[in-house]
């Protein structure tokens, strides 16, 4: 972990084992809203492609990130806000995640964040399946996913318009028995 700041936890989850992980505290909607001001525009087209309907408005986005069974972790790395969010899906005991920052999930710290969310999903919340849509260009994110035990399950061709062209999104899936510490 290269940051010198304290990760924040939004959503109030403190299940068994959670307290043993990196320092965490509950973040309020105001902190998420403040972070969203830096994240919303760079993540706009990715969020659309990955079916995360987070509103652009910071206050509405914060409310959205804390509603409907979603859990959001807020971190700051070298003053850059990063939100890692986990959502329980309609299908029983399955979930999906997103890691959002002005640089997406293509950041050095992505492995630590992914490990934290995957552990929460599989070991604490008992999800039997976790999935993540990763743009092909986010190489550090894809490598981190594979290190945690995710498998590349599908390729959504040309799903994301970025830098003037359409690029692929890779669907990564994690089953609990395949999870490993990176």
């Amino acid at each position: 972990m290269t940051c010198g700041t304290v990760p924040l936890v939004a959503g109030g989850v403190e299940g068994p084992g959670v307290r043993e992980r990196p320092p965490a505290r509950v973040a309020g909607a105001a902190e998420l809203a403040d972070a969203w001001r830096d994240i919303a525009v760079p993540m706009l087209t990715y969020l659309a492609a990955a079916e995360w309907g987070v509103p652009s408005d910071p206050r509405a986005a914060a409310d959205w990130l804390l509603a409907d069974g979603r859990i959001a972790f807020l971190h700051r790395f070298h003053d850059m806000p990063v939100i890692a969010t986990l959502q329980r899906l309609r299908a029983a005991n399955t979930g999906r995640l997103a890691i959002l920052s002005p640089r997406g999930a293509d950041i050095d710290e992505v492995g630590m964040l992914l490990d934290q969310v995957a552990r929460l999903a599989c070991a604490d919340l008992g999800m039997r399946r976790l999935e993540w849509l990763v743009p092909r260009r986010w190489r550090r994110a894809a490598e981190a996913a594979e290190a945690v035990g995710f498998a590349e399950e599908a390729c959504l061709s040309e799903a994301w318009f970025v830098d003037g062209r359409y690029e692929d999104l890779l669907l990564f899936g994690l089953l609990p028995e395949e999870r490993r510490a990176p």
Binding site: L44, T45, A48, A49, E51, G53, A91, A92, T94, R128, R129, E131, A151, E152, E153, A154, C155, L156, S157, E158, A159, W160, F161, Y166, L171, G173, L175
Partner: protein, 197 residues
């Protein structure tokens, strides 16, 4: 008036999902065989308010639509959901089913899907659609292949039915591929106008 050639073919017509379609929709959602195939899980008993919810979501939410397939009597015989409607990247996800089990296997599903994709690609200007079906559902696989679908992977153990897990096969249909199979008539909506032709 909407040109019939855009939305209708072979005794099937695409139209808005109406409140009077709810009874047929409720029967479909109460049938565990139908929902296992369509949703990858058996739905628990629902009230009519539960059944009506997709209609309410469709009206309130810009990234979800529910359309009905009607027969010659204007009775609903199938439906399509358009979800994850991504107007930025011009993609969406589709799901569809024939409501009455007795009508399955007669080509109704393929006709309904073809009409919907034609509209999505050639009137709504979407570039690509995605969808999924249970790995056990050979009829769905065949029907999607007829539309030009390409399998792009599988969500492992995504479905849970009667104590067993099943993979969900993920597919995509690209507009160019669909239009090569079913060339659209560019004059179908403007034929009656002269525009100096």
């Amino acid at each position: 008036m909407t040109p019939a050639t855009v939305f209708a073919a072979d005794g099937v017509r695409i139209r808005a999902f109406l409140p009077r379609d709810l009874d047929a929709f409720a029967r479909f959602r109460a049938d565990p065989v139908s929902t296992a195939q369509a949703y990858g899980s058996v739905l628990m008993p629902e009230t009519m308010d539960d059944v009506r919810r997709p209609l309410d979501v469709s009206a309130a939410n810009g990234d979800f639509m529910l359309w009905a397939w009607a027969d010659d009597n204007d009775d609903a015989i199938g439906f399509t959901t358009l979800s994850g409607i991504d107007r930025v990247n011009r993609t969406l996800w589709t799901g569809s089913a024939v409501l009455d089990p007795a009508l399955r296997g007669r080509g109704v599903g393929s006709t309904g899907r073809r009409l919907v994709l034609d509209c999505v690609f050639n009137e709504m200007d979407f570039r690509r659609i995605y969808g999924e079906f249970g790995a056990f559902n050979e009829a769905s696989r065949r029907s999607h292949q007829k539309m030009g679908a390409e399998v792009v992977g599988a969500r492992r153990r995504a479905y849970f039915i009667s104590g067993r897990y099943y993979d969900a096969v993920v597919y995509t249909v690209q507009r160019e591929r669909f239009n090569a199979l079913f060339p659209p008539d560019p004059d179908r909506c403007l034929r009656s106008l002269s525009f100096g032709r």
